[in-house]
Symmetry: C2
Subunit: 386 residues, 2 copies
Amino acid sequence: MINQIKTIGIVGGGQLGMMMIPYAKRLGLRVVVLDPSADCPASQYIDKNDLIVAPFSNKEKYKELAKKSDVITYEFEHIDAGILSEISDSSIKGSKNVFPSAITLKLIQDKLVQKQVLENQKIPVPKFEEVNRLEEIYAYYDKHKKPFFLKSRKGGYDGKGNYHVKSREDIEVGFNQLKHPLMIEELADFEKEVSVIATRGRDGKIVVYPISENVHENSILDTTTVPANVSETMRKKIGEIAVRTLNCFSGVGTFCVELFYNEKKGEVSVNEVAPRVHNSGHYTIEACRTSQFENHIRAICGLPLGSTEMIVPACIMKNVIGHDDGKAQFVGIEKGYEIEGVNAHIYGKIDTKKGRKMGHFTVTGASTKEVQEKLKKVDIECNGVN
Amino acid sequence: MINQIKTIGIVGGGQLGMMMIPYAKRLGLRVVVLDPSADCPASQYIDKNDLIVAPFSNKEKYKELAKKSDVITYEFEHIDAGILSEISDSSIKGSKNVFPSAITLKLIQDKLVQKQVLENQKIPVPKFEEVNRLEEIYAYYDKHKKPFFLKSRKGGYDGKGNYHVKSREDIEVGFNQLKHPLMIEELADFEKEVSVIATRGRDGKIVVYPISENVHENSILDTTTVPANVSETMRKKIGEIAVRTLNCFSGVGTFCVELFYNEKKGEVSVNEVAPRVHNSGHYTIEACRTSQFENHIRAICGLPLGSTEMIVPACIMKNVIGHDDGKAQFVGIEKGYEIEGVNAHIYGKIDTKKGRKMGHFTVTGASTKEVQEKLKKVDIECNGVN
């Protein structure tokens, strides 16, 4: 298999795609990337001729990517699943392959359909409803009389595409602001958010990473702590539901299942599935035997997957999020590195802006307590300079 | 410091330079490479515009590299130390920096001078002699009446530049074949060869990696096993001599000290010092907290160095050496990856030839015995296809 592969095509050249590249190159493979931006993070690891600069709506450019690639994958789900499906169909001749499959991408892209698939398999999810007209939303509110989420079914991430409806007056604002079609989702009463990264090989075998505990700030992931601080009972329950969730979606590669849970109530609920490597899996680079990126590359190339076991007792990943606008300038790396077990990943984005993911760092150590203490001393930030 | 650095210039784009690049890019840095070959391994990780294609004798191209770089390093010692010294001298203005320093490179480049420096510091080395004329070599042979090494003082590696004189008749052949000036070195009676990788930071602090045990085939490194199978007494002695050796040469970055030793006789002798990352340190990528490449990048950027401790109990690195000529085609990766703890690094060289380093792989595991057993089952090779 690996001998038939010379070039991997990646749709999306953000940090997720970027972090796959060294693992592909280690195997002697060429990488070609499709991204709207000429200076996307992935552009740092490839030749300019291997970067196709075009919006994700440009079908012709997907075809160009396919022509150059033996295997295609993606780092972002809000892309053109239709054209990927077309490209994939031609794989009957064994020439093109899209991983994870375009059909899985299509199901997951639409948050309503994703939830319907999960509900159909009796996987616990927050209550949700399809809504199309304003009146339906008013009717929902009048019936339940409590806050809820109004969500775009497609295209949202990092809290974008979600509108928190707190009162009847909010409804029209959200309705006009969000991209349609929409859905409603209840505000679940959960304590924590966790996620489970897993990779499925071409042979169907799945390897599962440790459960990580995620804390968000302004709807953007702030920290991931591994191992998650959950009881043994909950660990089993979360693990079991995560694997059942994965089994709802075929497709080769790394996936992420985000879950809410309430230890007291003993309840777990699936928030979202991503058919790709995930921000909450960045910790695997320093903390696991095989990173989520390496296992993804192995999977799509048909190689046996590597161990997901942790090689350190504990790890915290912290995102470096832009807080103002301007040319990106990092501070605190030198001081941070004085603490053993700190590793920074700077994405090389030229401009920072409020809420933009500019980099991340991990802190590894002998215990969760130790890494939490270390983290307090590390202050790596990205400022905007004019 | 790191904030003043935007671009690292590397002289040499072979696999050693290549493996530094991802660690530089992780820090958000640009990398520019000078190499005689447009399709050198490092070319896979950078844009074509960041590769200066020119022979290592072209002084103007070093200057071009310097113009583009804030910091300069090298992955190969047989380069133009004179021009690096010139570039470095202009660093009084704080604009250019060469690491390790050009003066260290000059001392080490000349194997005779290197040995003289070590001998001067009372560091055990095999007996050696400067020789210039054929008669001097005959005189040496007639005096000692035993085989010895005739060596080029400059430019040799992987056994190239060494001639094993077994009889009086060999002398003239070696003399005519080798690049002058020459030196003589005794054939030392040693059981094993080990090496010690270490990195010196800008603050002068040195971090030392575990001792590795090296086996050569046809004068080319075949395997490196870590930890080395040496007694506690020898471990201390080797460590102490390695650090004393490093202290003979100033300069920031990763170094390698190769030593011979004889456990029975309790003797250790320094074979060679390399002012750069080293093939026998490749194991550090999978087996140590911080790889030799990462610590080199940290060092030259003025960052605190990372821990060199092993994160697995044992590791063997095996080189994949070309055994015939043709287009490179690897076999055995898929099967090799079925064994947990196997990681391949393919250098992306288009053509293979007998004796060329085409890649390497590491096998990690719970004990030396376990990794040796695993290694027997892994057969990753590079064939030449026409």
